[in-house]
């Protein structure tokens, strides 16, 4: 632990927010259908898309219509992707000649990419054809992110609406966000990454001679383009199995900085855009403050854990001034860059990694897992982080707002039984999917076959896997071999629950809020832009998440940590 490490963490987060801010302002214009400087190029494309699909861009949808469109779109995307993966051997652009995926792997992978999770039960370089990568997975990297952003736009409009039901048009929101925000960002980022040394080619592989004279076949892919959208869209699914730890995905500290900042920038931007559309700019800043504080705290905690916790193996080897825990970390990144990335990727439902979380010290890995369990709202996936945080804010306002002597309201909308009902439904999904499946897997022999470790670390692998699935994160505690029917199926169900069993209540809340009168704040209204509110929301996020997962974490990373301390002390 040194000041350079801390500076690196602070700089990365600060740069992320600084990038997100103007993006949010731009995205608000896109959501509002206003003119942008990209119009000359993209307007015609947009018009063509509407004409092609018969979309009336001026026709609004109520929450049911919006939710219906989201579900229909995702279902269609799932079916197509499933078929494509299942039968990729019959399709072109398969230079390595890979087989079609097994039914359970195709199911898991299709769900994974449609839900913006990008959990990968497979090693990309040894499984996926070029066509599957480009026309299958990458397409969903865009549209699943676009779907999340579209829902955020709908939620923002709900707060701006006074006794209405129009949440916007999903097809328009999806088209515009993908065209005007995600595509340009990805193109620019991909070019920068190519310039910085990330490959972008359709060649199958290169052959290299190692220093020992051995021949090595190294797979090649159009990596830069997927790398860009994988980060911006909080997808996280790498082309290579080791994700952004692979030198072709993330060759230098410079690419690492670009990729790290692009994990969270758009999620911060979503909050800014939300504030503009909902007419709540100050309140949006409060939400951003909550996110910065918690993701910063997580980065700090992981960094401290990786650099300060005694390592029994080192002690056993007689190394007294043990360096930081470097197991599973890339030397070119080091503990600070790995820690801040871990916090950002788990706070964001991204799931790309530049170090192996399963090799972190117990508390470091535990913090990463806890970030996912907090509901992926720090700052969360693109779109999903915003609406998840809004649900948290509604709960915070509901409990604490009563304490100012009024029935609670948030951003001028009263929070009543209907909103609380749907908010609690949404909140229930995570413990149900994470703890429910974990508890079964923990005693099911067929599940335990995939486990590398026994004891607390093994439990952490299980917990992390289901947390990652339900949180639509996609990262894993390496050590779990998930490409088996039980894991593929249950993880896919977890992903579906975490995505759609959350989206539908959120849109129902949006519908209920839109129908309510927009109230003006008075001196008696709970201020939702003050430091006090920031503290309150942090408290609610931590306590709500902590209370749900504390017992499970106690049996995983926490006990592992104490065991490790005891082991270190006994040396």
């Amino acid at each position: 632990m040194d000041w350079r490490g801390w500076a690196e963490i602070v700089f990365t987060i600060a740069l992320t927010v600084a990038m997100g801010w103007p993006l949010g302002i731009f995205m608000a214009r896109v959501w509002a259908g206003e003119r942008t400087w990209l119009d000359p190029v993209l307007r015609p494309v947009e018009a063509l898309a509407y004409a092609g699909f018969g979309i009336d861009r001026n026709k609004g949808q109520n929450w049911l219509g919006y939710a219906g469109a989201v579900l229909a779109f995702s279902a269609a995307g799932f079916v197509l992707l499933y078929l494509q993966l299942r039968f990729q051997n019959l399709l072109p652009l398969n230079p390595q000649g890979f087989d079609g995926l097994s039914p359970h792997l195709a199911f898991n992978t299709a769900v994974s990419f449609v839900t913006n999770t990008n959990w990968q039960s497979y090693a990309g370089e040894a499984t996926m054809s070029h066509l599957s990568q480009m026309a299958g997975l990458t397409v969903h990297n865009f549209v699943s992110a676009g779907t999340g952003l579209a829902i955020a736009a709908a939620v923002a409009r709900a707060f701006a609406t006074d006794r209405g039901e129009n949440l916007g048009n999903f097809w328009v929101d999806l088209t515009r966000t993908t065209l005007y925000v995600l595509l340009p960002l990805s193109i620019v980022t991909a070019l920068v990454l190519v310039a910085a040394g990330v490959p972008q080619t359709l060649l199958a592989n290169v052959e290299a001679s190692t220093i020992e004279g051995a021949k090595q076949v190294i797979s090649l892919f159009p990596a830069a383009s997927q790398e860009a959208i994988k980060q911006w869209g909080t997808n996280g699914g790498g082309i290579f199995n080791v994700n952004s730890a692979h030198p072709f995905e993330n060759p230098t500290p410079f690419t690492n900085l670009i990729e790290a900042t692009s994990i969270n920038a758009l999620a911060f931007g979503t909050v800014i855009a939300f504030g503009r559309i909902a007419g709540a700019r100050k309140e949006a800043k409060a939400l951003i403050a909550v996110m910065i504080i918690l993701v910063g705290a997580a980065a700090a905690a992981i960094y401290a854990s990786e650099t300060l916790t005694p390592q029994p193996a080192m002690i056993a080897a007689g190394i007294t001034d043990a360096p930081s825990n470097m197991e599973g970390k890339e030397v070119r990144f080091g503990p600070a860059a790995s820690s801040v990335w871990a916090a950002q990727t788990t706070g964001a439902s991204n799931g790309s990694v530049n170090a192996m979380h399963g090799s972190f010290m117990p508390l470091g890995g535990g913090v990463a897992m806890f970030m996912i369990q907090l509901g992926e709202v720090l700052p969360g996936g693109v779109g999903s982080g915003l609406y998840g945080m809004v649900v948290m804010a509604l709960l915070a306002v509901f409990v604490a707002g009563l304490m100012v002597g009024r029935t609670p309201e948030y951003l001028g909308k009263k929070v009543e039984a209907r909103e609380i009902k749907f908010a609690m439904l949404a909140v229930l999904i995570l413990p149900l999917a994470i703890l429910g499946f974990s508890a079964i897997a923990a005693v099911l022999p067929v599940a335990l076959e995939g486990l590398l470790n026994k004891g607390p670390h093994g439990l952490s692998e299980i917990l992390y896997a289901y947390s990652s699935a339900a949180g639509n994160n996609g990262s894993a505690f390496a050590g779990l071999t998930a490409n088996a029917p039980w894991w593929n199926t249950t993880l896919a169900i977890g992903m579906l629950l975490g995505r759609f069993a959350y989206i539908v209540p959120v849109l129902a809340i949006a519908g209920a809020l839109a129908a309510k009168p927009k109230l003006q704040p008075t001196a008696g209204t709970l201020p939702s832009d003050s430091p006090l509110f920031v503290g309150l929301l942090i408290g609610i996020v931590l306590i709500l998440g902590g209370l749900q997962f504390f017992p499970a974490l106690a049996l995983g990373p926490i006990v592992e940590h104490f065991q490790l301390l005891a082991a270190a002390a006994s040396r």
Binding site: E416, M424, L435, P527, L532, P551, L555
Partner: protein, 678 residues
């Protein structure tokens, strides 16, 4: 303030006894269906009892399971007791009301022309019947006076023993069944069906017979049920996770963990808080027809206030006498005083009062004739020994003195203008045919009103004054009283309109009124407070009735509403914050045998795993009892603005809720260990 039905302060012994009994009656699970948190606790208590029984039957050590089971039952009983004691206080008030509902025989008039009367039991009366009520009779049913004037003792419903005048026509024509005619007689047309009279409704309200959950209560119940489910998942899944970790979990301990985590504190006190809110309103002699109205009161954004009676005393009062040029001030005051000696109106008396306060006195000259006010002359005064004193409307006095506009001294003309501009009423005074001065009659704003409006503003409540005065007068009084807005020359229709406009902006409106023409506005308002002395239509239209008929009561009603919501929020926050400490007590205790290193989490240093679990369960039960007084009394409301209020309550109930159980559980653990209970 008059006496009220609810004895403040100490809770009656009989109420406690009854509540203890009904705490057991409420163990019936059917009674708990509306309260999932406590129902869940009861289910766990049953399971714990069975498990303790199995341990006893198996000859195993049973002290721990027996104690856990007992404390779980106590948790349910304490919650039931809290609700019962809140209900009990209402029931006591209802009983005193019921005692006044005697079975009277009504004098039913069957032939109005010949005044033919048939004695009929009161409960056989139907709306439309006309009854005769004479001195000493109890009025048999709610109704409208169609003939007669009488003084009526309404102590039965208001607690106020001074009789009030009730007469046919106008806003004083409503009578309430159960009240007694003290003098004279009335012919009353029955308006209410038996069983739905005002008194019946009052009894039902006070008893909470058809208490339905209010919208906010409903939302909170959903939240609590959701949290209960979350904790159910967290605890049940521990069996699987524990098995993987080689931990054998005692179902009894899991049950204890579950009960301590679910929000039993607020779950147990929620309905008591609601009932206590109604009760506090009753204490200030206001009856709400629904809990929903009380809750809405806390949310009020705009308060419509009638100027007269609420903001001002309702009578204009003399504040100064401006002398004419050449007239000594005390001479002018003395002339005003003599002109007012025979005037029994509040204005006249205020002039006498003003003179006395300034040390000017006068006796009516012997043989004086009083000249009463008439609509023609618009002045009044005294004549004696050829001398005359008059006071009256400025133009009327001037005309009777045969003065022209230009003959009035400029000083007096300016004084008249000044008085009118300030919202007052000028009266001219003449003595023996000469103009001697101008009296300044002022609408006097009640003392303290301005401060209360400032409080309301800090609560975020906007005040709007409604008056029939002209805009000049209205503006002057509005600024003096410190209201946020006013409506001058208002008609009853204007009230309705202004309520609708405010509501269209999404604001909640409160108002009070007593006239029949207030009824539509009272019905439209979110909180409509009718005066008990008011018209029957008004009393039926409002959702609250003020038995003291004091329009300033609205302010107290708003505070009670806020207090109710604050109490709910505070207890919920406290309840959830408590869970952190319970984890630190129970989690290490559950796992420490199999995973000794988790002993590091026992930061409270609890003496043994069993003691830790038992202490957490005991704390969880006792905290309900400890908070019953707070639930009944309510968290105090302070008009310090939302931000400060939140920070204050968050500190007390949030941070306090985090810390308190660490201390409490540790103390209980020390006792449990000392007594060797576990």
């Amino acid at each position: 303030m008059s006496m009220s039905f609810v004895k403040s302060g100490a809770i009656d012994r009989s109420v406690v006894t009854t509540a203890l009994k009904s705490a057991f009656v409420k163990l019936d699970p059917r009674a708990l269906t509306g309260n999932p948190v406590i129902l869940a606790t009861e289910v766990v208590a049953v399971l714990a009892t069975v498990s303790a029984g199995v341990a006893i039957a198996g000859g195993l050590p049973a002290s721990f399971p027996i104690q856990i089971a007992a404390w779980l039952w106590l948790t349910v009983l304490f919650a039931n007791f809290a609700e019962a004691i809140a209900e009990g206080r209402g029931k006591a008030a209802a009983d005193s009301l019921r005692a006044t509902r005697v079975t009277t025989r009504a004098k039913l008039i069957i032939d109005a022309a010949r005044n033919a009367i048939v004695p009929t039991p009161a409960h056989e009366l139907v709306p439309g019947d006309v009854v005769l009520v004479e001195a000493g009779d109890v009025i048999p049913a709610d109704g409208e006076i169609i003939e007669g004037v009488a003084s009526v003792n309404e102590a039965a419903i208001t607690g106020e023993s001074a009789p009030v005048i009730r007469e046919s026509g106008g806003d004083r024509s409503a009578v309430t069944g159960g009240t007694t005619v003290v003098s004279d007689w009335l012919k009353v047309k029955v308006t209410s069906q038996q069983g739905s009279s005002f008194l019946d409704r009052m009894i039902a309200m006070v008893e909470g017979a058809d208490r339905r959950k209010t919208p906010n209560e409903l939302a909170l119940a959903v939240l609590l049920a959701g949290l209960t489910l979350v904790f159910l998942i967290a605890v049940v899944t521990l069996t699987g996770l524990g098995a993987f970790s080689g931990v054998t979990l005692d179902p009894m301990v899991l049950g204890a963990l579950f009960v301590t985590l679910i929000p039993t504190t607020i779950g147990g006190l929620l309905s008591a808080v609601g009932i206590a809110g109604m009760d506090r309103l009753l204490k200030v002699n206001v009856l709400a027809t629904s809990g929903r109205a009380v809750e809405a009161a806390g949310d009020v954004d705009t308060l419509l206030l009638d100027k007269t009676g609420t903001i001002t005393f309702g009578n204009r009062m003399a504040v100064e006498v401006v002398p004419a040029p050449g007239v000594r001030p005390d001479a002018a005051l003395r002339a005003a005083l003599i002109a007012s000696l025979a005037d029994e109106t509040p204005e006249g008396r205020s002039i006498v009062e003003l003179a006395r306060n300034q040390g000017v006195t006068a006796q009516a000259p012997a043989g004086a004739t009083s000249i009463p006010f008439s609509a023609m002359t618009r002045q009044s005064g005294l004549d004696a020994d050829g001398k005359s004193w008059r006071k009256g409307a400025v133009d009327a006095v001037i005309r009777s003195l045969d003065l022209s506009e230009s003959q009035i001294p400029a000083e007096l003309r300016q004084a008249v203008d000044r008085v009118a501009r300030s919202g007052g009423t000028p009266l001219a005074v003449s003595e023996n045919g000469a103009l001697v001065g101008v009296i300044h009659l002022k609408d006097v704003v009640k003392p303290g009103v301005k401060d209360r409006f400032a409080d309301l503003r800090r609560m975020g409540v906007r005040t709007v004054m409604i008056t029939g005065d002209n805009p000049v007068t209205a503006a002057a009084i509005a600024s003096e009283a410190g209201v946020d807005d006013f409506l001058a020359e208002a008609t009853p229709e204007d009230k309705l309109r202004i309520i609708r406009t405010e509501q269209a902006k999404g604001r909640l409106v409160a108002m009070c009124g007593d006239g029949a023409n207030d009824a539509p506005a009272l019905a439209q308002a979110d909180v409509g407070v009718a005066m008990q002395t008011g018209a029957q239509a008004a009393r039926e239209a409002g959702n609250m009735v003020d038995l003291d008929s004091d329009p300033t009561k609205v302010l107290e009603i708003v505070e009670v509403g806020k207090q109710l919501l604050i109490t709910r929020g505070a207890l919920t926050t406290f309840s959830i914050a408590n869970d952190v400490a319970k984890y630190f007590a129970i989690i290490p205790a559950m796992f420490v045998v199999a995973l000794p290193s988790l002993g590091a989490m026992n930061i409270m240093g609890l003496s043994s795993p069993q003691s830790a679990i038992l202490s957490a369960v005991i704390f969880n039960a006792l905290v309900i009892v400890a908070l019953i007084p707070l639930a009944l009394r309510g968290v105090r409301y302070r008009a310090i603005g939302a931000a400060k209020l939140l920070s204050r309550n968050l500190t007390i109930y949030g941070i306090g809720g985090l810390i308190a159980p660490f201390v409490g559980i540790k103390l209980i653990d020390m006792i449990v260990a000392a007594l060797k209970l576990a």
